[in-house]
Chain length 503, copies 2
């Protein structure tokens, strides 16, 4: 496999540049002083330009064609065949992107992030608007350059969720809207059945951090191959399986933010830390898609972290860490509190029922911005109108509305739907895990997560990016992505919590 | 200046790759989990290879020649002429380095740093020895590739201190040895005149950090363009004037470590933060040499931070931060304590008198290792023998001997002499500053450092790398580098402290 190895060597340089950019991005959100933004933008511009040129250069095309000829007889499931498929997919797409667009995108987003941050803090949409305008314009140019079938959004979506189409997302989201909006209303009618006042007591941030660290470690996160920091917006950043970092944020009077933020990012990190060593530092040494990635973070955050079993084991430890704030509370009351549902303005603080409605708002906003149906100046009004329609709330300011998320400032348009796709997958995967390893729920109740992690490592993690998301879902669950299992899970869990009549 | 601008654009990419490597290095020493070492080495290898190839490629040579022709009439002191001089100097040197040597050096040193760290902690020289062997072999190949006049060490020294020769360093070091060894002995005979027991009391690390931060800020360090972190070995890392980071380390029972470490690194950082904005993100946007850089850190650490005037203003603040540990101590006693002299084993904790003997040990070790007169296996014995000869002490283990410094693990051979050259320059510069701005000492006594910083900015900082170190010393002081002013300063200060008879 001489040609394949030559291809790998070349792709390694591209990969190393990309993981270096990963570190530059991590640093920008956790460590970089404000004065560093200009140089950081210049660094991102140079590295992205060089990575792009190295990847789409004629030398790569030649090596790829030669390696494909050499590897034509490889078994479909072999690492070599998978590498060739991924390299071909990426090469054909990236070769369509002109270098100036790549560089302009890297530089613009590095600066836009620096503007978003104070704009959000000051709830000053006008400060961020010109940057959003530039980013939407860049996204349009990107979609045109990449090419698409039905909708320009297809091109952007495909970069985050390979193979997924806008029309499929729309169909899924329509099913969810039809089911969720009535459920949210029904829950609202029974709102006083669940009380979360206990979560707003006084929780020392240092202790929160200690507990977050302990939970991450207990779930299987390896601190010798990662670290936990603070950032305005929690995220995880993998640079090979040996260095997978997570961040969270602490609020003194809102315990769930850091707690579930950490579990969520731990879910992402467990995926990357458990990719097969053979795939490390190659094109395949990352997640299959953002949707699959999100299925892992959601599975740990919701199916594990918001389960009754989890708190039967972890609540006594939490109570020991916050003896005053949690005095007189028991595991069942705490379980109910962390599953309280109700319309709210901030996506990252939303409950499982309303979360997907936040995503649907963003999906529709992105479609409108991209097509021009929603102008940059009208975007806050369009946002607020949808928030009223789906959640029955009106954001009092843009900080709690259109400015709340980091994603657009980073140039990520087409990313949000993967959160809801991940929610759907998380339940399909978890159901399958429990069907195959019936001891998992009892393990969670006793604070033992190894059986679940082993199953996930074997079925999902170790494969890295060897399979397309749809392939992986079918291999693991035996069928395609569906809304049914997810809606069943929500009806079962929240039906019981809110004593809803089953339809 | 169309050709000059084309050259600048190309050099910008090289510069951005190098500052990105600066961040990768900073992260490795402050944040990176142990598992990240492999990927970090691969990243360093790729980035250094690409930066090298971009810089020495025929395109750069052509652009440089064209820009030189275009800029032939430029004023010597103009930024353009200085850029052309620096670009030519670097290009001619770097073009001699084969790419495989550059990549091997980057990868080897990234891994060697990871081995040095535990080897030092365990005082296990045999663990580090193979890496030192590789690094010395790489240094020999580097010297041969670069070329040299009299001694291979000239080639390595020139990379850190352009224009300096091994024979000059040897002559300076011989003068210093002749003067310092008797002074150190004379002080040892009067050792009980100064007591530093107060510095070994209990100093809370969090409070030390607060005070370090406050001092750095007061001296003029701008935290909006930098940050202070912890690392095993204090260092500063500049990535353009907008992002100049410093680190230090805290020991609960040894106050001077963090305190003077911070002032020292602040001195380096003030240099980089005050380079003229026009030079930012260019080849000239850094210090003139490591010697000049060290003159700035030493000036702030010793001429300012260890002066009687400084503590007359700062001691009350320090005492307010540590009311128990510093109960019953006054500013004069504290001033004496932080200037206590005596032979010790650890360079970074050495006093002003013995410090240079530590450097002379390293200089002689490097010459011996490079020539092969000292073998890798014999190096600890050679180190210990010199420590006995110059300092009268025998290291009880290698952690306090040959393993104590990070430099060799980073591939830096030829670097150490610049510390002593910087000491010499620091006094020549400070004498000149006071001669031109007689209010400086009174300013220091009242906690006002703006006059000194303004003078340094105007005479040294803003020029960045426009002048060679020897040129800069002559421009600022009117004469060449000399040992006289430095030895006069030491005799005056320590003669008074230890009541030595003046020769």
């Amino acid at each position: 496999m001489q040609k394949l190895n030559a291809l790998k060597d070349r792709l390694n340089d591209v990969h190393n540049l990309r993981t270096a950019m990963g570190l530059l991005g991590w640093d920008q959100q956790t460590c970089m002083p404000p004065g560093g933004a200009g140089t950081r933008a210049a660094q991102m511009g140079t590295l992205s330009k060089i990575a792009h040129e190295l990847f789409v250069g004629p030398e790569t095309g030649r090596l790829l064609a030669e390696a494909e000829a050499e590897g034509a007889g490889l078994d479909y499931d072999s690492d070599g065949a998978a590498l060739l498929r991924a390299a071909r997919h990426d090469y054909d797409l990236e070769a369509r992107l002109p270098t100036d667009l790549v560089v302009e995108t890297a530089q613009t987003t590095a600066l836009a992030f620096e503007e978003w941050h104070p704009a959000r803090a000051a709830s000053d949409y006008r400060r961020f608007a010109p940057w959003l305008g530039r980013i939407v314009a860049l996204a349009r140019r990107r979609a045109e350059a990449l090419g698409y079938g039905e909708h320009p959004y297809d091109a952007l979506l495909d970069e985050f969720e390979p193979g997924m189409r806008t029309s499929q997302v729309r169909a899924i989201f329509d099913e969810l809207k039809a089911a969720l909006i009535p459920m949210v209303r029904a829950v609202a009618g029974q709102a006083d059945r669940v009380d979360d006042a206990v979560l707003k007591r006084d929780f020392d941030e240092g202790r929160q951090e200690e507990f977050s660290r302990a939970v991450a470690q207990r779930l299987g996160y390896d601190f010798a191959h990662g670290r936990l920091d603070r950032s305005a917006h929690p995220f995880s950043q993998g640079m090979g399986r040996g260095d997978v970092r997570i961040t969270t944020r602490y609020e003194r009077n809102w315990l769930p933010g850091a707690l579930f933020g950490t579990i969520h990012e731990t879910g992402h990190a467990l995926y990357e830390q458990n990719i097969a060593p053979e795939l490390d530092n190659t094109l395949l040494g990352t997640g299959a898609s953002l949707g699959i990635h999100e299925s892992q973070s959601r599975l740990w955050e919701n199916l594990v972290g918001r389960s009754r079993g989890f708190w039967s084991s972890f609540f006594p430890r939490l109570q020991a860490g916050f003896p005053q704030a949690l005095a007189g509370v028991d595991a069942e009351a705490f379980y109910r509190a962390v599953n309280r549902c109700g319309p709210s303005l901030i996506r990252v603080e939303a409950d499982e029922l309303t979360y997907n409605l936040h995503i649907i708002i963003r999906f529709e906003m992105e479609l409108g911005l991209l097509s021009g149906e929603i102008g940059i100046d009208d975007a806050p009004a369009a946002w607020n109108a949808r928030t009223r329609d789906y959640l029955g709330l009106t954001p009092p300011d843009d900080r709690q509305g259109i400015l709340q998320d980091v994603h657009w400032s980073g140039g990520s348009i087409g990313y949000f739907p993967t959160y809801t796709l991940g929610n759907l997958m998380s339940v399909q995967f978890f159901d399958r895990a429990v069907a195959e390893r019936p001891g998992i729920p009892a393990g969670i109740e006793s604070g033992e997560f190894g059986t679940l992690l082993d199953w996930l490592r074997d079925r999902i993690h170790r494969h890295g990016r060897k399979y397309l998301p749809d392939e992986l879902v079918r291999r693991v669950t035996g069928g395609p992505l569906r809304t049914g299992p997810y809606l069943d899970y929500l009806r079962r869990k929240y039906g019981e919590l809110y004593a809803l009549s089953q339809e």
